[in-house]
């Protein structure tokens, strides 16, 4: 049984079909990259799969369960988590407290009325582990709004980890990052892929072809191709629609 079974997924904004009858089976293991020109419907696809948008048609089956139309907070209980193309943080909270929000929910502390959240030792410990993993431990006390863009992008990814997901959907995790930061995130994604299913939207073709086990190409809201990197690279349709174009 595949991890995701997506059948005829469709979402229209007015006359525009941002996702247009997408049907794919996604395997349990490895890294799947989603590529496609801007406006191809990659983010919309993530929004549908994670319950931010309700599809106009189609079904999303995750691990044999129909999760179509569920809310994000219901979806994450199945072990799905995501990061955001446009960084989505708790701007006024410190880096550590951002992570605490997710961790305290995961560990079941979120409704404790009289426990000072800074004194929930278990939460702090797990939150610091995550900050260590993503390399932001020394910025723990900075307000999220005050750290550099690259670190904010990484914190966004760190928040996605707080729910202890099995599958991670990463929407352009390296957009706007420096070369060094890209290398760092690529490394992190590789590490995470040992224990998580990774689905990543990315524009950097070196990264995409370097790390992916499978590549899904979207074009005008539809699936143009799905296959291993070498097949995608050789696919003529893909080449004319996308790879020939300069994206940046």
């Amino acid at each position: 049984m595949s991890l995701f079974s997506i059948q005829g997924l469709t979402k229209r904004f007015g006359s525009l079909a941002a996702t247009n009858g997408v049907s794919v089976e996604i395997e349990r293991e490895g890294i799947l990259s989603i590529i496609g020109p801007n406006g191809a419907g990659k983010t919309t696809f993530f929004n549908l799969v994670t319950g931010l948008l309700k599809p106009d048609a189609g079904k999303i089956i995750y691990q044999g369960k129909d999760i179509t139309g569920q809310k994000p907070y219901e979806i994450i209980r199945h072990g799905l988590s995501r990061s955001f193309q446009v960084v989505s943080l708790f701007e006024e909270l410190s880096v550590l407290d951002n992570v605490r929000v997710g961790v305290q929910r995961n560990l079941g502390f979120m409704n404790r009325l009289f426990l000072n959240y800074r004194r929930a030792a278990e939460v702090t410990e797990r939150a610091m582990e995550i900050l260590d993993l993503i390399g932001l431990a020394d910025q723990a006390d900075q307000p999220a709004a005050a750290i550099p863009h690259g670190d904010r992008k990484i914190l966004d990814l760190g928040l996605a980890l707080t729910t202890k997901p099995q599958s991670l959907l990463l929407d352009e995790p390296m957009a706007g990052l420096s070369k060094a930061e890209r290398t760092r995130i690529t490394q992190l994604i590789k590490e995470l892929s040992l224990t998580h299913k990774i689905i990543v939207v990315e524009h950097d073709m070196d990264v995409v072809f370097g790390i992916s086990d499978f590549i899904l190409v979207l074009h005008h809201g539809s699936v143009l191709a799905l296959g291993e990197p070498k097949d995608i690279a050789a696919n003529e349709e893909v080449q004319s629609a996308y790879l020939g174009l300069e994206v940046h």
């Binding site: 907070y73 988590s81 995501r82 701007e91 979120m110 009289f114 959240y117 729910t163």
Partner: protein, 318 residues
Amino acid sequence: MSKLSQLHKDPLLWIFLVFALYPFLPYFGNFISLGSELLLWFIFTLSFNLCLGQTGLPSFGHGAFYGLGSYAAAITFLRLSDKGFFLPVLGGAVVGCLAAALLGWLIKDKRGVYFAMLTVAFTQVCFGVCWRWDEVTGGEAGLSGIIRQDFLGISMKDPQNFYYFCFVIFAVCSLLIRAISRSCFGLSLQSVRQNHLRSQYLGYPTGLYRFAVYSLSGAFAGLAGALYCLLTQSAFADILDWQKSGDVVMATLLGGGTASFYGPILGSFIFIVCRSLLSSLWEHWLFIYGLSFVIILSFFPTGLMGILQKKKGRSKSS
């Protein structure tokens, strides 16, 4: 203990100290029921700020729960045979909580200005009902004849004793509300305010949190309203007027409720003192109050506490 030695830095402790001495302060000591009203307003605006400052809920009709709490206390007192002191206070909190739960459930997923307008509309409905329903609320005449009974053998007829009763309740409520705002639950509410979408993606059913905090806040507001009924020994529909709710919003914002837990206390103090003391000296005080509100909030959206915090931050970093 480092905790004990830090105690003198706790603003609440200083607020408690000032208000414990209030009846003996020069000038202010002459206005003992003004002191009681201040304490009730502190509870009321702190409860309001659980919604606005903590969770981002613009409950601009929060006076509904204060007013209903006041009626609930009056009705409990007048209809119950034993004429106790405790049940009316409890009744106010329960009715405030239930009314807020009812409204909160209906509007928990409404955003921004729609939420605000629906709470104002709710207040207007409550006003209409209390203004018209003669048999229960006394209609336009309101309810009177409420007498403060002895409590634990202490005569509550004495304004000073009643003041200290309010003081104890204020102390308990402010400690409770502060503990809640700093708790894990309080952090959950913060996350809902700052980024409700991300909060949902971390597993929080944000609508339920908005509902929960609204009900909780309604209980404190209803309690404050019940004390107001005992203070004035009456209940009238005009406290349900939506303009009264506006006073709470203004006081909280001016004090800086979005920046600090203490903002509502500072703001209520300024508003109540201005209204009670300045208004007798000069009838156009509201004009100056309103103007200062506009000026301060335009330049410092986080209010007076926001200004204070910025100053403190600057002196620390320099």
